[in-house]
Symmetry: C2
Subunit: 316 residues, 2 copies
């Protein structure tokens, strides 16, 4: 049996951060989750992170490094430049963590971490060309061509969340109007609920929630019960996302699109309108050729992929 | 001095077909151009092609093969399945030409041929990651990642011309509504002219042309003279194309977008509104990072790229 090494994988989301102790065989031994507090100064995040990581490092002397996935990371420089949904400004998180924990640290875009994790251990093990979509606080994406991640000339490829929905005027956290992410994300679903309440004014228990209280989980709960407003909010989400994805399937002709993130729990309420929109918008030669795959919701592949970053580095 | 071999490169467009005798050093020795008659049965095209090719083959006994670029070719199978703008149905043009001329034949998408030609001999010699856009009868595209053409899972990648412009209702030759190609192509510019005449009814000499008479060259001629309708038609073209390209720059983060085809003769009338639309739609981290390059209008790089297909095969 080969020697077991361990890595810490961290998936920093706009709402929660997930952390795992990962073996070089892709097993997650310890799981932690805490609020990111993305709108607070980064020191609060770093201090919460330290409280979890230090005991792990002290307990296990085979921890070989820390891999991080986070939105808005430049894949070439490892720097974070004003990541949308975070008020952390321009930071070199990689150097911060190296200094703090005295371990090798690698950092990449969270959707790229998810794609690497899915390729190594999940639903993309058999895929050569696919699009990874993470639906959480924001919309993350990663395009994989011949099992290589497309990083782009400046390391800033894959900003699918900030492509535009024409003539839609929702303000995005990035400062622009009408970004896909303002529709196809947890917050986007909630915005759609309030828009539909305003336009249709159909009686729904969702009228009892404030904008700050409402979450996508709550909307899903009412969709399951058949609430028309909740169903219509998911229909809007799926339709907008499907129409935009059709553009990218027309151009990249991938074998599959693989979805992960909290929002996929909405299941058919999201994916039925999404597949209908794909069908309506794809060029005839592309219809029904691309598989829709859903990640295993019980495993955080971004944590695995972030940890795998360092395993690969040591193997090479 | 190395031995000189010759190849025939053919660029089949929706309106005209260009043909060149190309040396293995990338020199075009003979140029021919003829009407494709894309809406007539393919036999008319094949018979016109034969009249040009046979004398060349008989005269030069070093012709080593024929390379073809054509819209709608499947890059994996080499088959043509109902190419948009052509009424040739499902054909195996590669086998047809092999049998007719008893020479090796390779066939790829026309925009891919242009991208290969530009990489070998033109404005993409220094580029690793770029998007090639051909603006002619249709809109062709080719995405290049690490100098590899993205062909897609089924060989049908790069159908940028058939991505959708939301809420725009122009019928496309592919059968769908609102395709980018119905705006950003020679025919798209002419459609915009008639729409603008209808909406603005501003006096313009363009009112003297029938739909069948009007060409993009004529529109350009009046744009140069300052005709407001002509200028507005190019503004519409550039704006729609720039907004859609922004989506793909956000995701692909290329070093450059390289344009070729008849429509680029419109110059600033097309590219100024295009660059403005890019600026308005790109995520802030992508603004002004991607170069806009224009192909040399005096060289047909699709002819060179099609010919180069066979040079590379023999080298490998």
């Amino acid at each position: 049996m080969s020697k077991r090494d361990f890595y810490i994988g961290i998936d920093i989301g706009g709402t929660n951060t997930m952390l795992g102790l990962v073996s070089n065989e892709g097993e997650i031994l310890k799981n932690h989750s805490f609020s990111t507090f993305a709108n607070q100064p980064i020191n609060i995040f770093l201090s919460n992170l330290e409280k979890i990581i230090l005991p792990i490092i002290n307990e296990m002397n085979q921890v070989r490094g820390i891999g991080v996935g986070m939105p808005g990371v430049n894949s070439k420089t490892g720097l974070i430049n004003n990541s949308v949904n975070f008020s952390w400004g321009n930071i070199d998180l990689c150097s911060e963590l190296k200094n703090k924990f005295q371990l090798p640290v690698s950092i990449i875009n969270d959707a790229k971490a998810a794609a690497l994790g899915e390729m190594a251990f999940g639903k993309a093990r058999d895929l050569k060309n696919f699009i990874m979509i993470t639906l959480g606080t924001g919309l993350g994406s990663c395009f994989v061509f011949n099992r290589q991640v497309i990083n782009g000339f400046n390391g800033m490829a894959s900003e699918l969340g900030h492509t535009k929905i024409a003539r839609e005027n929702r303000r995005c956290e990035c400062g622009k109007l009408g970004c896909l992410e303002t529709f196809a994300s947890a917050g986007g679903v909630c915005r759609s609920v309030f828009e539909i309440i305003c336009s249709d004014k159909k009686k729904t228990p969702l009228m009892n929630y404030s904008f700050n209280e409402l979450t996508a989980e709550i909307v899903t709960k009412y969709a399951v019960k058949g609430d028309e407003t909740a169903l219509k909010a998911y229909e809007k989400t799926g339709t907008v996302l499907g129409a935009k994805l059709a553009d990218f399937i027309n151009v990249f002709n991938p074998e599959a699109v693989l979805f992960s993130g909290g929002l996929v729990a909405a299941g058919k309420y999201l994916f039925e309108p999404l597949e209908k929109a794909l069908d309506e918008n794809l060029l005839i030669t592309h219809k029904s050729k691309t598989q829709i795959r859903i990640s295993d919701p019980n495993v955080n592949y971004a944590v695995l992929g972030a940890a795998a970053l360092l395993m690969n580095q040591q193997e090479m």
